[in-house]
């Protein structure tokens, strides 16, 4: 059930950023919306739950994008590992910290992408628009990153509550039928 929710949420984000956002002015260069989701998994979910989704999302994005296979997988895995490591000594609770973490995630992904272009690619020249793209994406991340994190947490809590009610309802039903 929980994995269905995660996959559904990711699918919505992927569709949003491949079908709607590219056609909207100002939003055509927005950051990868799955980054806040990966950060959410890193901050609030277990490694077992998160790792499966990180690999799944990396695989999907690598196949949807024109990037070399493994680039999204790489960025998501290192982001997830980085967040898990960060939470061992920092509690990311405040909105400001969350903004910074999402911005750092966006920067890390861009760094990996640019590294793949320049070091591993056939054309070592850095794209002319690389700087502006990174700045725009980071600013978007600072502004909207925590909104996504709050939204994911809210949905998760509602879902947990709903699940608990369903389980409690079933338990009551089975107890009353036994009596």
């Amino acid at each position: 059930m929980i994995y269905c929710f995660y996959i559904g949420a990711c699918l919505c984000l992927v569709i949003l950023q491949t079908t709607i956002l590219p056609y909207l002015p100002l939003l055509d260069r927005i950051y990868d919306l799955l980054i806040p989701f990966i950060i959410y998994l890193g901050l609030f979910r277990s490694i077992r739950e998160g790792l499966f989704l990180v690999l799944f999302l990396g695989f999907i994005m690598d196949n949807l994008s024109g990037s070399p296979f493994g680039l999204y997988l790489t960025s998501y895995c290192w982001l997830f590992v980085g967040i898990k490591w960060t939470t061992t000594f920092v509690q990311v609770r405040s909105r400001l910290l969350q903004s910074l973490v999402v911005a750092a995630g966006v920067l890390l992904q861009n760094l990996i992408f640019i590294g793949a272009f320049t070091i591993l690619g056939s054309n070592p020249k850095l794209p002319a628009e690389a700087g502006s793209t990174v700045v725009i994406q980071t600013l978007w991340a600072v502004g909207t990153g925590p909104v996504f994190l709050v939204f994911f947490r809210y949905i998760q809590r509602r879902l947990d509550k709903l699940m608990n009610e369903v389980v409690a309802g079933r338990t009551n039903l089975s107890l009353s039928s036994r009596r």
Binding site: T18, D62, S67, N123, P127
Partner: protein, 277 residues
């Protein structure tokens, strides 16, 4: 013998090294993993549904609520203009080809191509790559590396296919390359994508005459794009004394931001240069 911290550091270094090796292997070419088309088949139907819904709503708005007659007339005029541009280009190409054919009798001109129309249902999720997803696949006769065009010119080529959907790399992607010619002076080079909606025309020698405004067309030498199809116009030329090649910027005729429908050439004419020699 080794501390836990040391093992962790070595482990991370090993992981990074393995990661870089794997990435460098996949960066060289587009691997055709068997599972790749599964991801496309999984996400593309949802993209198709959302795109069609948006277009339907937009269509209602544009055609019924917002200047009905003007919109229709505009569409009609745009179609006519595209047709005229294409025809004009074909005539220019025919004229130049006729001149060359006087001396090269065994040269064959590109004839009609069989094409199939497809709708764009999704764009690349990353700002760093320029690909699109279209609603035609293996079941419609598509294969990898087929050229994708629109009336204004070359769009890209098919790089991955599933049964009903395909991924197309646009000519403005950094990994794309098209063998091209300047229509007027026949100067040859390679059109490479940049991150912006422009291309670089690389490997054009300093001695060749290239001017701003010149039309750049596909040469057909790459064995992918049919010869004579338009790519763009030269928007900037820089000649440096110390360099062998010119720095040329080409603005594509295709507006990639507004790309909604494309044509896939199913039987692109390949010039058999080897057999002619």
């Amino acid at each position: 013998m080794f501390s836990k911290k040391m093992v962790l550091i070595v482990g991370v270094i090993v992981l990074i090294t393995v990661n870089i090796i794997v990435l460098s292997a996949t960066t060289k070419s587009y691997p055709a993993f068997g599972l790749g088309h599964l991801a496309l088949s999984f996400v593309a139907p949802f993209q198709e549904f959302v795109t069609r819904s948006i277009r339907f709503i937009r269509g209602i708005w544009e055609n019924y609520f917002f200047l009905v007659s003007v919109s229709q007339e505009n569409l009609h005029l745009k179609k006519s203009l595209n047709h005229a541009i294409q025809k004009n280009n074909q005539m220019q190409e025919t004229e130049l080809a006729n001149i060359r054919l006087r001396s090269l009798l065994n040269f064959q001109k590109a004839i009609t191509n069989r094409v199939i129309a497809a709708e764009v249902i999704g764009k690349d999720p990353s700002a760093w790559f320029k690909t699109i997803i279209i609603d035609k696949g293996k079941a419609d006769g598509l294969k990898r590396w087929l050229p994708v065009v629109v009336a204004q010119g070359i769009t890209g080529q098919v790089i991955e296919i599933s049964n009903h959907y395909s991924k197309v790399i646009l000519i403005i992607d950094r990994n794309s390359a098209v063998d091209a010619l300047v229509q007027r002076s026949r100067a040859r080079g390679i059109i490479k994508g940049t991150l912006a909606d422009q291309c670089r025309f690389e490997f054009v020698l300093q001695k060749h005459d290239v001017r701003i405004g010149d039309i750049v067309v596909a040469s057909g030498f790459d064995g992918v794009y049919p010869k004579g199809l338009r790519i763009g116009w030269v928007s900037d030329v820089i000649k440096r004394d110390a360099e062998i090649f010119q720095e040329i910027t080409v603005t594509p005729y295709v507006d990639f931001e507004k790309l909604e429908e494309v044509l896939i050439v199913l039987n692109p004419q390949r010039h058999e240069f080897a057999s002619q020699q």
